[in-house]
């Protein structure tokens, strides 16, 4: 009986603390994140709305991210998309004043994306609370239902690169090493650590389901190749890219 009483007292004493931890995440999200991030959905439905987007949509964060990565990133935010979230604002046409024989012959990045990312930095406990709050946002469970990664379909880094570059051409927009690949997509070398496997399977299969106007095309990836690509991305994320730099 005494034990029961003690437990009851403890649980009553603990519950406000738990509730406040939960509230802290939601409060930070609502007060500090919602000015730039869409936390309620839906995703942009027209091209004009898409260009108004200032930061990645977070309303399906719980379906998308790995919690551990979120906690780390929120403490040390770095840019994930080299051309920014909205590349119409960050691409400038081919510089005209350069000698075309010597100078660059293609469009260039300019503006804020050339500088380190300006993003709120959170303390560890804040990051934990915000990550918990984000992981609760799961409106798209239907899109990842039945998406189970087949871990038997492993590929080597070389074969994975062939899929990404030669077979499906993802490399034109996405980087598979820092500075190696296109600029307009998100970096792929951290994707395996950043994203849930089920999300990667679902998103690559049909990006439009998640983001109706997004500029990532449906690559019509064959089911076997889809599994291989996601296994490759997970393998790739375990590489230490700082070692070679």
């Amino acid at each position: 009986m005494k034990r029961f009483l003690l437990l009851a007292i403890l649980s009553v004493a603990m519950s406000p603390a738990l509730a406040s931890a939960g509230d802290m995440g939601a409060n930070i999200l609502n007060q500090r994140c919602s000015t730039c991030h869409n936390l309620t959905g839906p995703a942009p439905q027209t091209i004009k709305d898409l260009w108004k987007r200032d930061a990645p949509d977070l309303f399906y964060a719980g379906n998308k991210f790995r919690r551990g990565w979120l906690v780390e990133w929120l403490q040390k935010p770095v840019r994930i998309r080299p051309a920014g979230v909205n590349y119409l604002r960050t691409i400038n046409s081919t510089p005209k004043n350069l000698d075309p024989k010597k100078g660059q012959k293609y469009d260039v990045l300019w503006g804020s994306v050339l500088k380190p990312l300006q993003h709120l930095k959170l303390k560890k406990e804040e990051a934990e609370a915000v990550a918990d709050a984000l992981m609760e946002l799961k409106p798209h469970d239907d899109l990842i239902a039945g998406m189970m990664l087949d871990k038997s379909q492993q590929v080597s880094l070389e074969k994975g690169e062939v899929l990404i570059d030669k077979v499906y051409g993802c490399f034109s927009c996405h980087q598979i090493e820092p500075g190696f690949g296109g600029y307009t997509g998100s970096e792929l070398y951290t994707a395996g650590a950043r994203l849930q496997p089920a999300f990667m399977l679902s998103y690559i299969k049909r990006p439009k389901n998640w983001d109706p106007k997004i500029w990532m095309p449906n690559g019509n990836v064959k089911p076997d190749d889809l599994e291989k690509i996601v296994n490759y991305l997970i393998l790739l994320s375990k590489e230490d890219f700082n070692a070679s730099n």
Binding site: A83, S93, K105, D107, G181, T184, N218
Partner: protein, 125 residues
């Protein structure tokens, strides 16, 4: 009399406004989806070019573009490069655009390369 003139004015406005709206839509689509590789002015000099082993088509290259039919351009957009014996680096956009949007894009690409020919009334099929 007033009603007839109103109807006439509305019809005339629609005739002018509809193609203009389509043109704006196609321009926005081109800017949003094609520009990253084909460049801000469609000259095959997009920001992603350094990462590509195949140079994207220069849509302002009149000499080459004159040899392509509208059907071929349509196929390249809808089904991707391999559908017209070109590189896989040109993805299939059939799931992104509607039929109408693809036709509008073909029209937009023609304005980049072949404006004079369009004015002359050349039929690109």
């Amino acid at each position: 009399m007033r009603l007839t003139s109103m109807i006439f004015v509305t019809a005339a406005l629609m005739l002018i406004a509809t193609p203009a709206l389509h043109a704006e839509e196609a321009y926005l689509n081109y800017k949003s989806y094609c520009m990253q590789c084909h460049g801000m002015h469609g000259q095959g000099d997009g920001v992603n070019v350094p990462a590509m082993n195949v140079r994207p088509r220069d849509h302002s290259d009149n000499k080459y573009m004159m040899t392509r039919t509208n059907t071929e351009i349509y196929k390249a957009i809808k089904f991707g490069g391999p559908a017209v014996n070109k590189s896989v680096k040109m993805p299939a956009w059939g799931d992104t655009f509607t039929e109408e949007e693809i036709h509008q894009l073909v029209g937009h690409i023609r304005t980049l390369c072949c404006e004079r020919e369009i004015i002359r009334g050349v039929n690109f099929k």
